[in-house]
Amino acid sequence: MRVRDSGILLALFVLVVALSLATQTFLTQGNLVNLLDQAVIVGLLTCGITLCMICGVFDLSASAVLAVSAVVGVLAARGGGVALGFGAAVLTGALLGALNGAAVVLLRVHSFIVTLALSIVYRGLALVITAGAIVYPDPARLTEFQSLSWPTALGGVTVPSLLLLAVSAVTSLVLWRTTLGRRVYAVGGNPEAARLSGIRVGPVRIVVFTISGVCAALAGLVLAARGGSAQASMGTLLELSAIAAAVIGGTSILGGEGAIWRGMIGVLILTLIGNGFNLLGWDTTYRPIVEGLLILAAVGTDYALRHREE
């Protein structure tokens, strides 16, 4: 990573310094732990969605997959124990993700519309499974189920926060260090050149959608564990925040370029803006205006720095 690539880090840094100076509470351990915890859901989705965007596809179904997975996870936990529930949720996410990928590859329609249509289908599926009601794990197992959302001995950092760190580390590793990662970048950068280099473009796309599905399922589990329940309308539209986070970080929506860490910076910036407003006690009526302008400033700075000399 070159210095001029890090305009977005600068933006984050400025925000952190500003908040540290403006409030006494920002730099407390409690607040930092909270911040991390607040970033988890969108953060997990952003990992998967960044991967998809680098590969040149959109996953607009992430939050719907989240809902279905969470619902399935809770129901399975009721039937066969918490471990089974977690497993079933992740499996559901992977399956729906793979289905997304297969539909994009087979229909050859742009992923934008395919995943949008499928997201409608998945939400409908969640509705049918739950019959519109909220589903809970077995009360006897509720505590065990909810343990996924607890703080750990590591200074109170929560399990979801650790999960996000792990997922972002793994996906980063996949992108930077594995042949799959190389394929993802190549397919996103120039699918025809990738194909002519012997890369199976379709399967690579299916894999990234599957990973995105798994990330969504994990986010769903965290949400379900926090609330102790799941329902069809969970997490609606979170994929938009995730895409915004990825783009704010500097991942190109044209594919072939980007990184997980960029998405994480984007998520942090979004979380910080909300946190700052609440800590400062400013009138929240003005929050959207400030939030939007800060996002613009952040991406503007990043762009200007990265393209200064071109």
């Binding site: 509470t25 920002f26 407390t28 409690g30 607040n31 909270n34 915890d37 607040q38 859901i41 939400r123 969640a126 509705l127 739950t130 519109g132 009601a133 909220i134 809970y136 959302s149 949400l223 926090r226 609330g227 329940s229 329902q231 069809a232 309308s233 969970m234 909300g274 946190n275 609440n278 800590l279 006690g281 929240t284 009526t285 929050r287």
Partner: protein, 313 residues
């Protein structure tokens, strides 16, 4: 051509063999709505009528279309409407009234005023919870919470619904106004939303800013999220909503009080009003939800003794 001036109902209500109810809820994936519908359906069955759920999934424009189409399809005699956007559905509701359908406005006001239960579209029947009254009641409960522990000053955090919704803002203004009038100290007023996750985030930030907060008011979902964050703190919670979980929390003393409404019963009551009107009976046009089980809406532990909530959350 002004459609509003085309006189009253063009078709007169006629007693039919079987009355049919169309229920326009907020969203099927919303347990509050689902419970309301269960009440509607139950009552319909008891009177030999049928009920059908139209699910707009929180989309105000989709709901408008559904109401229009239901009028067109001529399959219904009664509409029970929970409006996602009370202003947007007005024209569609008007055409329903003109088509001779008995329209019952349920829970949220239909029209642009949030401080009255009087029907704002001529010919409709309301069974609603007036938002400003709701806000005032929440404030009242908070004041009682402070008094219960003789807290003075009493630090109150108000978790708003959604800042973008005028209805929520009307409620917030009423609540905050009443709290201020009662001399309470509001230490935080943030958007808490209607999910546990949003409530959780809001509460985390509230605690950073006002660690000594005594009373927290918010939607029951937001309070559930808030409670998980503030584990172990002696905070008195006032929840807006009367789900099974909320009622239990109040009964167990975890939460101080809830603004309780018997949701399922209210669904049944709406169906009753609608069917009565469709069958030509005289019906009072403006009805308050809080009058159905008088006094219960100020749901402290004593008041809610023996009550079970009518929906899950």
């Amino acid at each position: 051509v002004n459609p509003n001036t085309e006189g009253g109902p063009t078709a007169q209500p006629s007693p039919k063999a079987q009355n049919r109810i169309a229920f326009f809820g907020f969203a099927k994936a919303n347990s509050f709505t689902a419970a309301t519908y269960a009440g509607v359906e139950e009552h319909a069955k008891s009177r030999g009528a049928t009920a059908e759920f139209f699910d707009p999934n929180f989309d105000a424009q989709a709901q408008v279309r559904q109401i229009q189409d239901a009028v067109t399809s001529k399959r219904f005699d009664v509409f029970v409407i929970q409006a996602n956007d009370g202003a947007a559905v007005v024209p569609a509701v008007r055409s329903a009234v003109q088509a001779g359908i008995a329209v019952v406005v349920q829970f949220t006001p239909l029209g642009t005023r949030y401080d009255t239960a009087e029907p704002q579209v001529e010919g409709t029947i309301t069974l609603i919870d007036v938002p400003t009254a709701n806000g005032a009641a929440l404030a009242e409960l908070a004041v009682r919470a402070c008094a219960s522990k003789k807290l003075d000053p009493c630090e109150i955090a108000y978790l708003e619904g959604l800042k973008a919704l005028p209805l929520d803002n009307a409620r917030t203004d009423a609540a905050v106004g009443a709290l201020k009038k009662a001399g309470m100290k509001i230490v935080a007023q943030v958007e808490g939303g209607y999910t546990q996750d949003s409530g959780r985030k809001a509460m985390q930030d509230v605690l950073q800013r006002a660690p000594g907060v005594d009373v927290v008011i918010g939607s029951s979902q937001a309070i559930a999220g808030a409670e998980a964050v503030a584990k172990g703190k002696p905070i008195l919670y006032v929840a807006n909503g009367g789900s099974r979980q909320t009622v239990t929390a109040v009964q167990e003393g975890r939460w101080f009080a809830a603004y309780y409404l018997p949701v399922r019963t209210l669904g049944a009551r709406a169906a009753e009003l609608g069917l009565d009107k469709a069958q030509g009976r005289q019906v009072r046009p403006g009805n308050l939800m809080t009058d159905v089980t008088p006094g219960k809406h100020l749901g402290t532990k004593e008041v809610l003794a023996g009550v079970t909530g009518e929906y899950d959350e």
